[in-house]
């Protein structure tokens, strides 16, 4: 407070002890972010050169180029095209250094991708549409009962929730692994089609089911 009378009103302590002499201008406060590329006070030293450096450089670039051709370089799934073209199958899968078949004994089983799956997934919707109208109302009721039973099983429930989260398009192919074989062989079997249909149906009208259950 006493400082105010002497004209040094800015601080409540003696500025001298910060290292500024009397009458010296204090630095102004910064109000803008520092520049993205601040000017450099000193130029950086040049890079090392020599045979070793050159060779490592060549190695690095070669590694980068060849990693693109290895099967480990995973392409994102291409956006679906409007029409399937005849030429499509000749344009994909070039420039790969051979296919890579991992040793499944060293990996968790769940990572294994079944190759035939794509074919089955394609044929599946046809079957589904055929059977759907046949599903009566009481089936729904039974399904709900079934689901309630399932919920009592703790781990099952967790799995179920996850499935709901991941969405149906991922759920379907997975289930296909388990049931498709039988489905194709014994289409008339009531129990089989009933159970499978339930999975499908549940997936399709997810919202309805949720309302009914909870």
């Amino acid at each position: 407070m006493s400082g105010r009378g002497r004209g040094r009103s800015l601080f409540t302590f003696n500025v001298d002890c910060l290292g500024f002499g009397r009458g010296e201008a204090l630095p102004s406060s910064a109000q803008a972010p520092s520049p993205l590329y601040p000017p450099m006070q000193f130029r950086p030293v040049p890079l090392q050169t020599g045979e070793e450096v050159e060779y490592m450089l060549a190695l690095k670039q070669e590694l980068r180029a060849s990693s693109k051709n290895l099967p480990f370089h995973i392409q994102p799934s291409a956006p679906k095209k409007d029409v399937g073209r005849y030429s499509d199958k000749y344009q994909t899968g070039e420039a790969k250094h051979g296919e890579w078949t991992p040793d499944w004994s060293r990996l968790p089983k769940e990572l294994c991708i079944k190759v035939q799956k794509s074919r089955k997934a394609k044929t599946k919707p046809v079957v589904k549409s055929k059977k759907k109208p046949a599903a009566p109302k009481e089936l729904l009721q039974k399904l709900e009962n079934l689901e309630k039973k399932e919920e009592e099983n703790q781990s099952e429930e967790e799995e179920d929730e996850k499935k709901k989260k991941t969405g149906e398009e991922e759920e379907e192919p997975d289930d296909a692994e388990g049931y498709d074989e039988e489905e194709f062989e014994e289409e008339t079997d009531y129990i089989m089609s009933y159970f499978d249909n339930g999975e499908e149906f549940g997936g399709d009208s997810d919202d309805n089911m949720d309302e009914a259950t909870y």
Binding site: F13, N14, C17, L18, G19, Q41, F42, P44, V45, L47, Q48, E52, V53, Y55, M56, L57, L59, K60, Q61, L63, R64, S66, S67, L70, F72, H73, I74, Q75, P76, S77, P102, D103, S105, R106, L107, P108, K109, E110, L111, C112, I113, S155, E158, E159, K162, K163, K165, T166, G167, E169, E170, P173, D174
Partner: protein, 546 residues
């Protein structure tokens, strides 16, 4: 791990395995252990792609899996290894080291295994022999046994090791469940099996593989190519007796080698060539007996060192003693004396050497960024530990105003820390000591993060430059392909020149400039990595010695 590390890991993953793996990997880095379905859902990637990504990551040893938090019955959880991803930055150095130690064959062996993560010995030998044959003159080929020789030498010196056996998931589950009672809950996360714990870690399998490398036919005849491919396939499925035994690169061993090289070259530049050879001999003698994380090597007597010195150095016994005294007296403290028996017992202070090298790196960073006078203040603080501002000005013999400026700049960059010691509990500035100090370890960590950021920036810049010039690059690639095919079909020179002119002079100039830039950026990445290695080893050694 820090934000900078995650960013760099993402960039490296994208570069080697594509964008999908980057997305999956970065998500795993951010959220720790996750199950397959959670991962697919949270990255909103299709399940099949996530599976593929995880396969790739596990194959390269960057990802571990094991029973999750919900116990053995729950879903498998995946955990990514940040350090291992960052090693990708060092691939050129590993390969170069293998080349300098074991020649071209060793180079190709390491390169193949690095690129494919893990391989069986027979497939390595086949691929490498084929590649070497490809580069040889007509009529010559590489014998498999020669490659096998190089491979076994790499295994004997522990540069290669067997991948730890992975039990089928059921086995892992049963093992953890028996030991689960004694383990703390923290151990419920996937426990990577240490490769060293496997007794067969460095044991070569008996493989039956004879023959020579094959040359890939370059003729365009589709039919012969086809049959060749078929034959190759048949050969690849041939039994060699080492199925299921996979080999990986032992990065720890390479890092030990790099550390020793760093110490030797530091001694060479600090003292002279002869003393560096003495230190090299000491390190070689203790290589087998010293564990990787030891603070100093096993003590060896001067007599033993003398006997182990290669005769070509021509170092007499009295000269050796003088050199050893010199090394012990050196302020860098690379070599220490632990006793007097056997003509004096000597050790190499590994951790001390790393700390000193890291300190020298810090000093030189300050010097190059802020000038030699700031470096003088920095060194002063390192030596005197705590100093008041007035003392800094006096000891550094720099005018008060400039010294203040430099000190505050260093403080704002976090290279120098400020310690307040109040005389009264109210922290009144007039009654408080302000002590400046440098904490080496935190500063080294800070610098390490800066290095990660720098490499990240370098990669981003390179991607940007490549993107900007994408059209030119594609054009030049197309034209090169045309030229190559024309040359193969024996076209006239005039025709070739005509095609070559399709790239105009300014375009050529631009391409040249681009290549120059990219070379510079790539080279910088390699060289920043050397600093990263040194700082990482220092930080790790400080953590292990505590």
């Amino acid at each position: 791990m820090t934000a900078q590390e995650v960013r760099l890991c993402g960039l490296l993953l994208r570069e080697h395995f594509g964008e999908v793996v980057e997305r999956v990997g970065v998500h795993l880095l951010r959220s720790g252990a996750l199950s397959l379905r959670a991962l697919a859902h949270e990255t909103s990637t299709s399940l099949d792609l996530v599976k593929k990504c995880l396969c790739v990551l596990v194959q390269h040893g960057m990802c571990k899996f094991g029973p999750g938090r919900r116990g053995p019955a729950g879903p498998v959880e995946y955990q990514i290894n940040c350090e291992r991803i960052l090693y990708m930055l060092r691939y050129p150095r590993y390969i170069y080291t293998a080349k300098s130690l074991y020649g071209d064959t060793g180079e190709l062996v390491i390169e193949e295994i690095l690129q494919r993560g893990q391989m069986t010995m027979s497939s390595v030998v086949r691929t490498v022999a084929d590649r070497l044959t490809q580069n040889m003159e007509d009529g010559q080929s590489m014998d498999y046994s020669e490659v096998m020789n190089a491979f076994s030498r790499l295994v004997e010196t522990h540069f290669l090791q067997r991948c730890p056996p992975v039990d089928s998931l059921g086995a892992t589950v049963s093992r953890t469940s028996c030991s689960g009672t004694s383990d703390s809950p923290a151990n419920a996360t996937p426990q990577p099996a240490q490769p060293e714990s496997n007794p067969d870690c460095y044991k070569l399998p008996q493989i039956h593989l004879t023959g020579r490398g094959k040359r890939r036919r370059s003729s365009g005849d589709a039919e012969t190519n086809d049959s060749g491919a078929k034959r190759a396939k048949l050969e690849n499925t041939e039994q060699c007796g080492d199925e299921g035994i996979y080999w990986q690169v032992n990065f720890e061993r390479f890092h030990l080698h790099f550390r020793h090289q760093a110490i030797i070259s530091a001694v060479a530049s600090k003292l002279d060539q002869t003393s560096s050879e003495i230190v090299r001999t000491m390190l070689r003698m203790s290589e087998v007996t010293t564990p990787a994380t030891a603070a100093y090597t096993q003590a060896v007597s001067a007599n033993e060192i003398f006997r182990a010195l290669p005769p070509s150095y021509n170092i007499g016994r009295p000269i050796l003693d003088q050199y050893l005294t010199l090394l012990v007296d050196d302020p860098m403290e690379f070599v220490g004396k632990t006793g007097d028996s056997g003509g004096g017992m000597y050790v190499v202070n590994l951790h001390r050497a790393l700390a000193n090298l890291a300190r020298a790196t810090l000093e030189s960073v300050v010097q190059e960024r802020f000038g030699s006078r700031s470096a003088r203040i920095f060194r002063l603080l390192l030596r005197k530990k705590h100093l008041e501002q007035k003392q800094v000005e006096d000891f550094a013999m720099i005018p008060a105003k400039e010294a203040k400026d430099m000190l505050y700049t260093l403080l704002s960059e976090n290279l120098v820390q400020l310690q307040e010691i109040p005389k009264t509990p109210d922290y009144a500035p007039s009654r408080t000591f302000y002590l400046y100090t440098v904490n080496q370890l935190p500063t080294a960590r800070l610098l390490l993060q800066n290095c990660y950021k720098a490499v990240g920036n370098l990669i981003e810049r390179r991607l940007f430059e490549t993107k900007e010039n994408k059209r030119h690059l594609e054009k030049s690639q197309r034209i090169e392909a045309i030229l190559a095919s024309l040359q193969a079909s024996g076209a006239e020179t005039a025709q070739l020149a005509e095609v070559e002119e399709m790239i105009t002079a300014p375009e050529r100039q631009q391409l040249e400039a681009l290549r120059h830039h990219i070379n510079k950026l790539d080279s910088s990445e390699n060289q920043v990595d050397e600093t990263i290695f040194l700082l990482e080893s220092y930080v790790n050694s400080a953590a292990s010695s505590r």
